[in-house]
Amino acid sequence: MKNAPYHILFLSILSLLLPALFPSGLLAANISVQAQLQPTRFAMDQNARLTLTVTGASSAEPEEPRGDELRFFSLGQSTRVQWINGTSSSSVAYTYRVQATRPGAHTIAPIAVTVDGKTYKTKAINCTVSPAGAGSNPPSGQPGGRAAQPPPSASTRLRSGKADQIGFMRLLPKKETVYAGELIPFTIKAYFHQGMRVTIKSNPRLTNDNFVLESMDDKPVQSEEMIGGVPYTLLTWHGSLSAVKQGIFPLEMEMDTSLLVRSRRQRPFSMFDDPFFDDFFGGYTQKDITLLSPKKDITVNDLPRQGKPVQFSGAIGSFSLAVNARPLTVAPGDPITLHMIVQGNGNFDRVKAPVFTGTRQNWKTYPPSAGKLTGDQGIVKKEFEQAIIPTNGNIRQIPAVEFTYFDPDSQKYIRLHSNPIDLTMQAAAGSRTAQPQAQAPRPQLEKGQATQTPDSSPAAALAPIHTRFGRGVTALQPLYRKRWFQLFMVVNILVFLTALALLQRRRQRLAHPERIRKKQIIRQIDQLLAQAKQAMQEKDSHRFLIRCRKILQVQFGFAWKVEPRAISAADLEHRLGKDSPLTEILKKSEHAAYSGETISDQEMQDIYRTLQEEVKQ
């Protein structure tokens, strides 16, 4: 028992390797071989798919499929292994693309498949190939390769000549007997094979002028639907149309599509002979195809003439009416806005505003608005507004409004009346507007006219006319074009500019005070010189010397920035030197001031000349 663990390990490994060591055929219960062609009816310029399935084996060796006037292109193989409750099952499938070189009935010969040295054979498969572009019925897609059943739209025509393998269209009107102008709800369904590369180039449209497309979804709803076991991509539009005139007319719709068609297959030689590379290098061309729905005859009747109301505007359907008004407290002459809503189902383009039934004696009415069409959560309504003015102070109600339409279900004209709306009437508007006029004194008429009496017309609220002509003008002249105003503005601008210049000058002067001081000093010295000269001429040496002393003090006081009166001969001697003539002049002036000494005329002239020269310097 020492080696027991090794035995267990060996058995475990063996159990895992056994399925791999033994051929799968030994483990499989049965081996079966089956071939399936889909579709069994196709056109020359289309393909069919042949699938060869070997069940019970994970590998096999099938021979090349054969068939009269048929070509087969291998698309590869796929293997599937399943383990269910410890039991394995495997299958392998080989796929081929089938093309025909000649239209007609063809047979794919039984295909021999060798599995583990044993040969199995499939059944022969029949197929029908139509000429290129001739079109054929859509495939039923039923398993077992049964004869294809035509889909419900077998009569669908394709203008391009393409077969219904591409798709087909159905037009489903809700009614087939209608009145001219009545809305006919419809549904359009376009079916396309899921394997087809189709592009929608336009929305469905009517093929004749007997009907008018009133509305249709901008974008279709996309879904999938199985017809006869074949999956189709379904595009659905909803909309409504109306008939233009009486008669029996075919209803038909068409739609432009574009199909990607393989163009490679007609080549005699392929570089790779492999579908992947052929597709990779763009072996497709685009082909425009127009899908056409089957015709449906629609019987269109005229509206009955008997009992047709005068106000009938052509509205056909089922409608309701709602009316409100504001304000409800008014005076004669005040406008009231009626808000009218027509709601329901029908041809709203023919729905006109309801008719106000008030009399012209009591009401002044204005044309209603054009109507605003709104659709919210499937409820379509058209709203109108109309201004009405009561002209009579005794009015207590807003009369009803009337809307007429034709009900196709009951085949009768229906008249809808709104309920009258209670109104509170105040004093007349004219008395209120007259109030401000009473406050302004009115000029009396010049030629003995009596005062005006209020008018009874709607213009009664007008203020009375003016009796004084006033100042006459020949044209409406704005103030800025009047000469006096222009002159006034010129004067204003001149004053402004002058003020600016003066202010600027003042500012500059305030910015440089020493210049002003210098000018003042020069002016003062000039005055003192003149006085000195006068004293010299009058031979008044005392006054002359006093002026000379003042001149020197003012000048040097400004130059040395000291108080002029504080300047003495000693200061001049200190700053200018003993030999300076100015020092001498000031000494003489001070001496004369204290001693009363006089000087000669000659000396005065010399001093004056000296001073004059010095000051000029």
Binding site: A459, L462, F469, T474, M489
Partner: protein
């Protein structure tokens, strides 16, 4: 030789002749205006309009005459010309309450409700364009005068007072100028004379862009041949034949209603 005429007559002979020449026409003009008033009293609006037009030929336009013409048009149901006459009368006498009252009445009676006015437009409408401009000019004159005095006087208290006046006057001028300019823009507006169809292009057979009531005020944008591109108070644009519009700025004695 004794002169046949007394001396005072001889001295002012030419003056007398001039007076005699001009007197009949002035009397005639006054008569036409009065005749128009009398016809209006008789509720003969057509005759009143004719007399007022004759008065225009002799004496020109006045606010009173345009206002009376507006009353005639309003009473005879010609909303467009009535609004035009009132608008023109307002340009000549913006302060007249009767003109404003009647203009509002006729607009109200005909459903010509203007859109809600902004505060700016409400303020602008307090005065007319000329009044705003005069206010601005007066403010400017006060400002200039204050500056001039400020440059001349030395007293500090006077300078302070003048500075205050200058600031207030300049503010007055600056605030009054924008409404004045904007109001003069309104002078270029037209009045729709009859209920008209706004065209999307300047051709008689062009598609309609909607209708517009008589008496609506529109602003002209550009002209092409006999059509004018206009924008109404609600911002709608469209072409209208020029004959269906009455320019406010252009006074004319005969308003032709097409």
């Amino acid at each position: 030789m004794k002169h046949p005429l007394p001396r005072p007559f001889r001295q002012h002979f030419f003056l007398l002749i001039l007076c005699l020449l001009f007197l009949p026409s002035s009397l005639q003009a006054a008569d036409y205006f009065d005749l128009g008033n009398q016809a209006y009293m008789r509720k003969d609006d057509a005759a009143a309009i004719t007399y007022y037009r004759k008065a225009v030929k002799n004496r020109g336009f006045s606010a009173a005459l345009l206002y009376n013409l507006g009353n005639c048009y309003a009473r005879s149901g010609k909303t467009g010309p009535a609004v035009l006459a009132y608008e023109q009368a307002l340009r000549l006498d913006p302060a007249d309450p009767d003109i404003r009252t009647n203009l509002e009445s006729i607009r109200k009676a005909n459903g010509l409700y203007p859109p809600n006015q902004s505060w700016w437009r409400q303020v602008k409408n307090i005065l007319g364009a000329d009044q705003w401009l005069l206010l601005a000019a007066t403010g400017f004159a006060l400002f200039s005068g204050s500056l001039l005095l400020l440059a001349l006087v030395r007293q500090s208290w006077l300078q302070r007072a003048l500075k205050t006046v200058a600031v207030m006057a300049s503010a007055c001028a600056l605030l009054a100028l924008p409404p004045a300019l904007s109001s003069y823009q309104d002078w270029r507006d037209d009045i729709v004379l009859v209920p008209a169809r706004l065209n999307i292009s300047p051709f008689a057979k062009a598609a309609s862009a909607g209708t517009i009531q008589a008496g609506r005020k529109v602003h002209p944008l550009k002209t092409y041949k006999n059509f004018i591109l206009v924008r109404d108070t609600n911002g709608r644009k469209g072409w209208l034949p020029a004959r269906e519009l009455g320019p406010i700025e252009q006074l004319t004695a005969t308003v032709t209603v097409p």
